[in-house]
């Protein structure tokens, strides 16, 4: 983990409110894993004060570069979009726990800006010889991001838009259902379910729907979550989400957290975990999504 001033190599405006920022940080790029994030300052004054968490969208250890795909939603990201090449980016990272690569087949699902952490994931999965299907969703064609980049990989890419302006009309949840049906017709039996894994990032309602499908079908699922962050390193306990407490299951087998939230910290059947350290990627089995909260 590093904290540095990195040189901005490129700041591309992709749509009205989406940008792709590439910066030079050789050591950080060598350490970075898909699903991890960085914590960036959006200016050099005390206002806005806090850093902003952004996923790593491009990881290129050879070039020593990293890139961020982000949507301008407020003051911080707006300031960030005003930085230009040749300027410095104050950045900490790589932070958090990324995706775990398992199985022989992967279904990678991104909704809206949720595609950001998925591109490096798809690249690594393919390098590992895992067969990948990417399902991208957005409200309409303009909301589709990084589509070409996914198409450049060997993954099979399917697209759904709510209004049918691109790909099929519908949602990625429909696409997932179809994909899982065809998977289980080719690979019948319970055993085969261990060879597949679903990876998802996007708005909470989308994640909840995917979670329900995977839960009832007993399909392994990894979700990348978001929460407001202070420190980004596990110190302030701002960024918590609820995870299940199971006596002998996935989250027991997983490496214990290096420090911090302890097993003692439980209500009866759940405890708080920090998105910045224990996450941002969680197993579907362990996480309790709060679907009732507005985005």
């Amino acid at each position: 983990m590093f904290s540095c001033s990195a040189l901005i190599l490129k700041q591309e405006k992709l749509t009205n409110d989406h940008y792709l920022l590439t910066y030079l940080a050789p050591e950080m790029s060598q350490r970075a894993r898909p699903g991890q994030f960085v914590h960036v300052r959006c200016g050099d004054t005390w206002d806005p004060l806090l850093r902003r968490p952004l996923s790593l969208h491009g990881i290129d250890p050879e070039a020593g570069t990293l890139s961020l795909l982000y949507r301008v939603v407020g003051r911080g990201t707006e300031r960030l979009s005003r930085l230009s090449e040749g300027e410095c980016l104050e950045v900490m990272g790589p932070l958090g726990r990324g995706f775990q690569l398992i199985g022989r087949e992967a279904i990678v699902i991104g909704g809206g800006i949720g595609v950001a952490p998925l591109l490096p994931l798809v690249q690594v999965l393919i390098r590992q010889g895992i067969q990948v299907t990417v399902l991208l969703g957005a409200r309409s064609q303009e909301g589709l991001l990084a589509q070409e980049a996914f198409q450049k990989t060997e993954a099979r890419v399917e697209i759904a838009t709510d209004d049918g302006t691109f790909g099929v009309r519908g949602t990625v949840v429909d696409l997932l259902q179809k994909r899982l049906e065809s998977y289980s017709s080719v690979n019948p039996g319970e055993e085969a379910k261990r060879d597949i894994c679903v990876y998802a990032c996007g708005p909470v309602p989308m994640l909840s729907a995917i979670w329900q499908i995977c839960q009832s079908g007993q399909i392994p699922l990894q979700l990348s979550l978001e929460e407001r962050m202070g420190c980004g390193v596990g110190a302030c306990l701002a960024c918590v989400c609820r995870v299940k407490v199971v006596s002998n299951g996935e989250n027991q087998k997983k490496q214990p957290a290096q420090f911090g939230v302890d097993a003692a910290l439980t209500s009866q059947d759940w405890k708080y975990a920090r998105v910045c350290v224990e996450g941002p990627v969680f197993w579907g089995k362990e996480v309790i999504l709060d679907a009732t909260r507005p985005e």
């Binding site: 990195a6 050591e27 806090l50 040749g86 202070g230 420190c231 390193v233 302030c236």
Partner: protein, 339 residues
């Protein structure tokens, strides 16, 4: 790419733009001068190599920041508030950014004193930097029990008593806003420990001096001020409070003038060493508190913005002393009103 940028890229690669270690800002000659500046201070019996500690709750239990700062260099490490039993804390959102500051309502999430002693204290003992444990409770008895337990384990240099907690036996009024209850808590902690007792005052009172005098009489060895200012924020889109807890504590640069004022007032009225905090982000901020009368300073929210803020404050104070011919940091304490 812009012309010239290529050169910069090469330069960056060669010069390892990423600073892994510490950068010495002083020239060779000044380094030896810097070594001659005395930064050591004593706060209620806690001997610190320099005045800088961490704001409780902003620095975890220490290891979280170890990749960014050498924890041995800190004057002390003040860890997250610890209670007798584990606490889950509040639902999210727990924080919201405000102009030059933030509100937090973490709800004292912590693993409880036993888990602290088992899982976190061993790591802290290894570092060798004095460890100040911040303690909290719902009743006077809980405070006393936590204090008692921490006194017998070894490796704790002092207790910082967070009195900004609701007293469940008194209808939830904060201990820290009532001089009688505040004195009662400090008295009970005092009676159950030999460790230095630092009373951490709440700024949410009209007369901070009266609070300070009350806890001094009850046996506090030192004072920490200030804790966060009670505030809230409303989201105009949802038309609802942002924090799940509705209200939260304001911290960060926005509160610094309030904190400096309180240190100034208390330092003149009460003869106890003070750890000043509230918005410290730079060496100049820290010096302001020292000049107002603080013996030590804590860096809190600024750690989130700059994970190296603590060591940069230490380095900057050293540079200031060298440049201004100050041989001992203790000479600067309260300078603004003493001289």
């Amino acid at each position: 790419m812009r012309p010239g940028l290529n050169n910069l890229v090469e330069y960056t690669k060669a010069a390892r733009f990423e600073k892994a270690g510490d950068k010495e800002r002083l020239g060779a000659q000044s380094i030896s001068e810097a070594e001659r500046v005395n930064l050591a201070v004593t706060i209620g019996g806690i001997r610190m190599a320099n005045p800088v500690t961490t704001g409780s709750g902003t620095f975890g239990f220490g290891p979280e920041y170890a990749p960014y700062v050498d924890l041995k260099r800190l004057g002390a490490i003040t860890v997250k508030g610890t209670t007798l039993e584990p606490r889950l804390g509040n639902p999210v959102p727990r924080i919201v950014e405000t102009p030059a500051g933030m509100l937090n309502a973490i709800g004292l999430q912590n693993p409880g004193v036993e888990a602290f002693v088992q899982d976190h204290l061993p790591y802290l003992r290894e570092i060798g930097t004095p460890v100040i444990v911040n303690i909290a409770g719902n009743t006077v008895e809980e405070y006393a029990a936590v204090a008692g337990r921490l006194s017998e384990v070894g490796g704790v240099a002092g207790l910082e008593v967070n009195i900004s907690c609701p007293n469940v036996k008194q209808g939830g009024i904060q201990f820290g806003t009532d001089p009688v209850m505040a004195a009662e808590v400090i008295g009970a902690v005092r009676a159950s420990t030999q460790l230095p007792v630092i009373a951490k005052l709440s700024p949410n009172v009209t007369d901070i001096v009266a609070m300070a005098e009350g806890v001094a009489q009850a046996g506090a060895d030192a004072l920490s001020l200030i804790n966060t200012l009670l505030g809230m924020a409303i989201d105009v889109q949802t038309r609802k409070p942002v924090l799940a807890n509705i209200m939260g504590g304001l911290s960060g640069p926005a509160i610094k003038p309030v904190a400096v004022r309180m240190v100034w007032q208390v330092a003149q009225a009460v003869d106890l060493p003070i750890i000043g905090m509230g918005g410290i982000a730079t060496p100049e901020d820290a010096l302001e508190f020292i000049l107002a009368g603080a013996t030590g300073v804590a860096v809190g929210t600024a750690n989130f913005v700059n994970p190296r803020a603590t060591v940069e404050v230490i380095e900057g104070i050293t540079t200031y002393c060298v440049k201004n011919g100050i041989k001992d940091i203790n000479h600067l304490i309260g300078w603004a009103w003493k001289r």
